[in-house]
Structure formats: C-alpha cells, structure tokens
Symmetry: C2
Subunit: 520 residues, 2 copies
Amino acid sequence: MAVFERLTRLKSTSRFLRYTTSLCPAHPCTATARIQQRRVHGGGSETPSAAPPRRPFSQVTPADLDFFTRLLPGRTITDPDVLESSNVDWLKSVKGSSEVLLRPKTTEEVSQILRYCNEWNLAVSPQGGNTGLVGGSVPVFDEIILSTALMNQVLTFDSISGILTCQAGCVLENLSQYLEERDFIMPLDLGAKGSCHIGGNVSTNAGGLRLLRYGSLRGTVLGLEVVLADGRVLDCLSTLRKDNTGYDLKQLFIGSEGTLGVVTAVSILCPRKPKSVNVAFLGCSSFENLLETFQICRGMLGEILSAFEFLDASCMSLLEEHLKLTNPITESPFYIVIETAGSTPAHDEEKLHNFLDTVMASALVIDGTVATEETKIKALWSMRERVTEALRHDGYTYKYDVSLPVEKIYDLVTDMRKRLGYRAKSVVGYGHVGDGNLHLNITSPMKDPALLAAIEPYVYEWTSGCQGSVSAEHGLGLKKRNYIYYSKSPEAVTLMGDIKAMLDPKGILNPYKTLPDSVR
Amino acid sequence: MAVFERLTRLKSTSRFLRYTTSLCPAHPCTATARIQQRRVHGGGSETPSAAPPRRPFSQVTPADLDFFTRLLPGRTITDPDVLESSNVDWLKSVKGSSEVLLRPKTTEEVSQILRYCNEWNLAVSPQGGNTGLVGGSVPVFDEIILSTALMNQVLTFDSISGILTCQAGCVLENLSQYLEERDFIMPLDLGAKGSCHIGGNVSTNAGGLRLLRYGSLRGTVLGLEVVLADGRVLDCLSTLRKDNTGYDLKQLFIGSEGTLGVVTAVSILCPRKPKSVNVAFLGCSSFENLLETFQICRGMLGEILSAFEFLDASCMSLLEEHLKLTNPITESPFYIVIETAGSTPAHDEEKLHNFLDTVMASALVIDGTVATEETKIKALWSMRERVTEALRHDGYTYKYDVSLPVEKIYDLVTDMRKRLGYRAKSVVGYGHVGDGNLHLNITSPMKDPALLAAIEPYVYEWTSGCQGSVSAEHGLGLKKRNYIYYSKSPEAVTLMGDIKAMLDPKGILNPYKTLPDSVR
C-alpha cells in the first residue's frame, strides 16, 4: 500500500521512460512497436537503455479476459487506475502499458495462468512488492502483470530448526514480525521491507544489511516452489539443511528475476533473535585506516559483527546541508557504522569496548560514539541510511551499485572525482565494506549528457578491470541487461541463453529483462 | 597418498562390485557390456544397485593414447598397478576397468582432453581425492580417469576479505594449513581432509563438521572455473561476495558430481581462525530432552556454537566393546558433543558455563564434561568420530545417511529397532543434530538378504514420508542414483535430465552417476 500511495501522489508530476505499443486485435499477432522514449527524472540507472522492439507476443483479447475472469473472479483487474500503479516501477523510471493485472491466491492458479499464457503466446511480467531498482518488476509493453500480493500465507514454522515456509507474496516486514514473536529473525533485512515480497527477494537474490553475518539467500533459502513457463509446478520446497540428491534446481530461480519461472513458495532458514545489539559510529582519517580497522574488527568482534558500513565526508556534507543532520563525532574523511548482534549483552559490550580501545589507541580511528538504546541506534543508522535521500536534494543523480575487491572499493570514487573535476557537483561513495559493495553517486545541477559520457562506459570498464560486478545486489532487469558483458564472459552469457531457451522456449516470462538483447 | 597406500594394502583380500567390458578396437564403437556383479564386503550403501549396460562410448585406441601422451608427456598413465588404485573407490565397493589415467596440470589441458573426448565419444570419469562414499569418483567400465591431483596450486589469497582462490586439486588439509598460517580457516572440515580435493568437495557439495556454523558451500563458494563436456572453459571464478549480473551458473556445478562439467578452480570465502575452542560431552535421558537442550543451546551459545552432534547408547556400547574406549561420563541413553568457537576465551567459557548450569539444573542433561585443551578436546571428539570404526568391528554393516526434520531425526532409529527386532545385531543412530542429518547403521553377524529386505525400501519410504533426503551429504553417485525419486519429484528429475542433455549432449561426463537409469 505504501508504494501505491507514493506512486499515486507523484503521478501527476513525473515523467517516465515510456514504452507504448500499437494494438493488434487477435491471436497470433506481430505487433509493430512504437517506442516513445522520454528521459526520466528520478533514481536508478540514468544510462539510456532503450527497450528492444516489442516481441511478437499475442495481445490480450476479450476471450482471454473471459478465461482469466472465470479463473480469478474479482481478482482479474482491468481498472486503469489500479493498473497505473502496477505499470510503473518504484523509482518511476520505467512504465509499461499492461491492461491486465492478475492476483492469484494459489500455486494452482499461477499454474493455470502460465499454462494458458504459454499456449496462447501471451507475455507475463511477474510482480512482487515492485520495489526493484532496475526496471525488472514492471511490464515494458503490454505484458500481463502477475502479482503475488494475495499469496501471503505463512505455511509452516519449525521452532526447533528455525525453518519458515511461506507463500511468495508475504511481505518481508510481516515475516520479520511473525518471527520476532517467536524469538527468531529473517536472515535478510532491506530498506524496502515494508513493501517487498519474499518471492521478489528470492527472485532478485536480495542482499541487504544482514548479508555480512548470515550470508546470501543461496545458502539460507532451503527450498522453493516454482511454476515454470508452461505451467508445470516444480516442487523443490525442501525444509532440509542438507540434501544432496541430484542437481540443486532451486538455485536456477534465485536471482533470475522471474525470467525462468515464477516463485510461489519459499522455505528459509532463520537465525535466533539476538539478545543484544550495539552500534558504533566512528571516524577515520584515510580509507587505508578504515580497511585496517575492518581487519581488526573482524578479529576482535568476530562472531558478533553484523554490519560494517561506510560513508565518506562528502556524504556527511550532504546530510548536514540538505537534511540538517548533525555529525555526532569530529569531522573526518571517512565514517564507519559498525553493528554487533549477540547472545550476551555484557560480552558484546566488552568486546566492542576492547576493539574501540585498540583502534583508537593506534589512531586508526580518530573519534567515535556508541549506542545501545534503540532510539540512539536508529539515529546513528540514519547517518548511513539517509544518504540516498540527501543525494536527491543535491541534484540530478547518476547512481552506480558495484562490487569490487574490498581493497579497491574506494579507488573508484577517487578516480572518478579526479576524472570529472568541476563537471560534477558531488562525487560520493558509501556502502557495505563487509560485502565489497560500493554505492557510487554523482550529482549535477541538471541532467548533463557530457557528464554522463565522462562517467560511462568508464565506470563499467573500471569495474570490469578489477573483476568487479556492475550490479552487486540490484540485478539487471530492463535497465542494465546490456551491461552484463562487463561482468560475465560471452561463454557464460551464451549458457544463460541456453538455460532460458530450455525453461521458457517461447520467452513469455518477464521478457526484455536480465539477458542482453543479443541473447533471446 | 594415504588412500593409495590403504587401497594397495587391502587389494589382495577384498572383493568388489566389478564391472568389466569386452573390448572393441576402433572408433566409433558399440561395445556390448559383460557385467559381472559380485557382492561387496565393506562400507557404503549395501543395497544392490547394478550398473546399467555399458553405453556405446568409444574405446581408447593407440591413436588416442598418442594424442594424450603428446598432450601430457609423463602424465598419461597406463601402468596397471597405478590404475588399480584409481579404478577402485575408497570403500572398495565399486571397481572399474579403466586403462588410462590422465593427470593434467592446467585448465587448458583439461579443456583439450575434454574437447578430444567429446569429439571421439570417449567417456570420462573425473577424480579428485577419490574419497567419495557412493561410487561417484571411479569409472564404472573403462571411462578415462581424469585426475585433478596435479592441479594443486593456490592462486590467490586476500587477507582482507578472506577469499582464497585455488586449483581444484588442492587437498583440503593443505588449504587448511595454508590458511591457518594466515589466521584463517576453511569454511568446511571433513574426516577425509587428508586426501580429499577441494574440487571434489565442491562437486559433491560436501557438508562436514562446520556446516552448522558457516553454512553450505552454496553460500561460501564465490566462484568456479569449469570445463564443459565439449572443452569450453566457463570462467565464473568471481571473488566477490555479491554479484547479481545474470544467472548464477556456478551453482549448477556444485553438487552435480562431475556430470555437468569438470571443476578446475575454486574461490571460497574463508572465516577468521577462532581464538578459543571448547568441547562439551553431555548425557541426556531421552531424545526429547536432547532436542530441548539443542534449543536452549542455540539461544545461550548463539553465535559461538560450531557443532551439535549426537550418538546413542548403542554407539557407546560399541565404542567400549570394540575399541575399549571409556565413557567419560555416567551411562546415558543419549550423548551430545557440543563445540564452541569464538574470539574471546573468557566469554566463551562463561557462556558455556551458564548454558551447562541451566541444562543441568533443569535435569535436561544428567551428566557432562568439558574440555578446553587440545588433547582432551580430541579425546572427546573421538567418541563421536570413531563410531564408524567401532561399527566395522561389529559385523556386516548396512549404512544410511539421511536428512530429516530435526524433531523426527531419532524416530527412524526407534522404528527400525522395533521393526527388525532380533534379526539385527545392532541398530544405532548418530550424526549432526544441528543439520538434521542422521547416520543410521544396522549390523548383522554376516550379510543377510532377509535383513536387507526388511530395511529397504522401508528406510527410503520412511524418509520420503517425512519429506527427508535419502542422501544428506554423500551424493548419489553410482550406488544411489536410482533412489533419487524418494527425495525428488518426477518433474524435478526430468528437468535435471534436460540440464544434463543441454550441457553434455553425448553424456561423456561421469556416465551412470547421479541421474537415474530412466533419465539419460
């Protein structure tokens, strides 16, 4: 609901990267695409990445609507106002023109929908909470939107093993609340938790704030139920920590952005709720010192370290200037947010105290403050979490989310600052040091093609030169699909295409996403 | 070397499940298979699972040997004595009749070998340390053995991120030593660490003793280099914690037992070496109390818990009777081995002390002892680790390795004991409570087909009825391939067959393994 409200509120003032299509009345149909591309104001990748021409999928006919309405009475939506919200992504950067939104409640309904769509060559755009940042969760043209919003039931929870099984449309925050009442937590946490669905999290292989501690979804997701393009239900909904009977098929659907199948249920291993949480906000005089602090931190905090995030002085200036936040410590070139989560408060505090003594005595850290109360913890976290908001106030923002070897994580910011000089208003770096994940953001008073040309493809080449990833945690979706070769070999991309062709030979599932235009 | 010596020593006295083949002189060739099956004495699955007829692969000709010798001078082995060791598995339960063992040093050599074999329809059996337990690492007929033994170089290690990259033939124990000198450890540990190769560990998705703490290889392996059946090199050797650019292809090769590609290099995320290790050996009066102890343990030891293993009173009797070990505590129906690993010795000891106070005050635990010194730690661990050895002295052993929902883990032992009654000599249960992984072992004074008929398929049906896995950590290999349907749906197995056909259309890679005979 939060997302819908936000989108509705902004609707009248925003401009979109819009793709519209001339209609064609019957099956089968080769529609000619009329692509009208307008530049977007908002976040996400700012690089033009026009959709390819509409592929020759069928258009939805009255007969199709009859079928869907019989299958999903009251849950086959054609109301333009409701469709408006589902056609546009959270960043308001991509907008499709779908005329049908389906809201199944069961796996069997999803199966019947896909069997029908595959038979009649109708393209489908699966949609969870629609909080993705790369245009992966909205139609590009007139694809049918298949929403998991009503598939929101917890199926089982085992309080001995900590294994939760639920439908794909459960909202992450609801699952977190369900678990916290039972003394467990979800192994992932995201800023979008109030809207995002667990099925979408799995389909994008979401990273988030707890990855450093609990690892990726590839380890914590124990089982999936998936409906394939032709309607077959693939039941891999295991609730076992160990199972070496054949190939681990569920991995195909983690992070494939709904292009290989629609995730309908998830089982996931959940950690115990920590009894003690502390947050430290520290200042360092150089990035080298920050990295050394990270190493000492891993040794001394060890098993209780749950986050190691950073922001640079430019981020702090933006927080102060645009959001009127007060720097809680002495001005420094770099700031660190460290979180600990453990089972024994006194032990955790002692570990943190000893660590801080060590890094301050050696002058690796020049100033710092620690919070143990929830309100102060939130205040310190906001210095890291609100950087994105501060950037919005600074101007037109070019945003990049890259993985790099941790020792090179800040070199890209330094290089970019030198390269762009006066042409950029701000060049800032922040992100997850513990995961080697940098958020590089560059602002300008207004949209600036010359500035963009100085950034791209340089930023991708730079990342590729370090064997980095051009999309650390957001996926490729529509916007970044053609940049895949900066991080993956041609042989790998070819094999991805083979897998797509094997599982979805007609290509009806989330077309124009993830794979580059050169691979269908 | 240890494995070779052991095998050579046992060679003259053992009998094998042997498959021999009539030779055919030229390419292409449809050899008729002559399968001579003799029952086996030794460990592993005791269920007859005869190999299917030899498939129509070519036989190795002098021209092939010329090619291999030119490519790998001095490393193309045809000496029957050396081949004898490589043709038989560690349990001495399966023996092939390969006449060629290849020892490449580089990925390019592996690529050339496979390109040639694929072109000439020659089957290949990839082999690491040959410590597998399901007949997955040896030829079944005359497949060429492709050994990773000389691919044993560490490529890079990053002491900031803890990411190690190495060739596939590195022995696990050597990697552990390399890392411990640098204050890190491998995220997996196995009894076979002195012989097993990391490439084999990845290919079988090895579990082992540290899974409870550090998770499975699906999370800790960050990258793989793999040579496909046709010789293409698939470079997915990422050293990034986060990378969401397209499908995660490396997952296809983790746990697929060399049937989809040959792993040639691995990058893996390694934890810091713990500064403090403690082991507790405890007694419980019931399995219900043991499970409740496990729950309390997860809450109170939390982040420092690194193992929670169990054995029953029957295991203890075998240890006392056959190995003359002394029970370190009061006789109990169940015993637990708990290991903690942390960064602060005083904290870890205090946590353990408080936990023990709680579980003993509530009478969940009736007796216990704790070790902090290395020799005493090893002595306590041996009560768990030497059960397999004790079973060998007890008679002919029927061995099962299953995953079950943790609350049902011991019901299978109880049920089986009732079902078999006087027909079995011993029915014992032990294993990894923390992972829901039970090792069920049943002994008899001698091989007993009536006893076997009472065990199977009952044990598989029982496991399947609980949505368990009939192979928790050992894989399917040759011996268990046809039991896959007890844990996987027909749709899933069909899709596995599609993947195999896509990646290895001629089926030359490790034939007769992993997939059931009904799927080629």
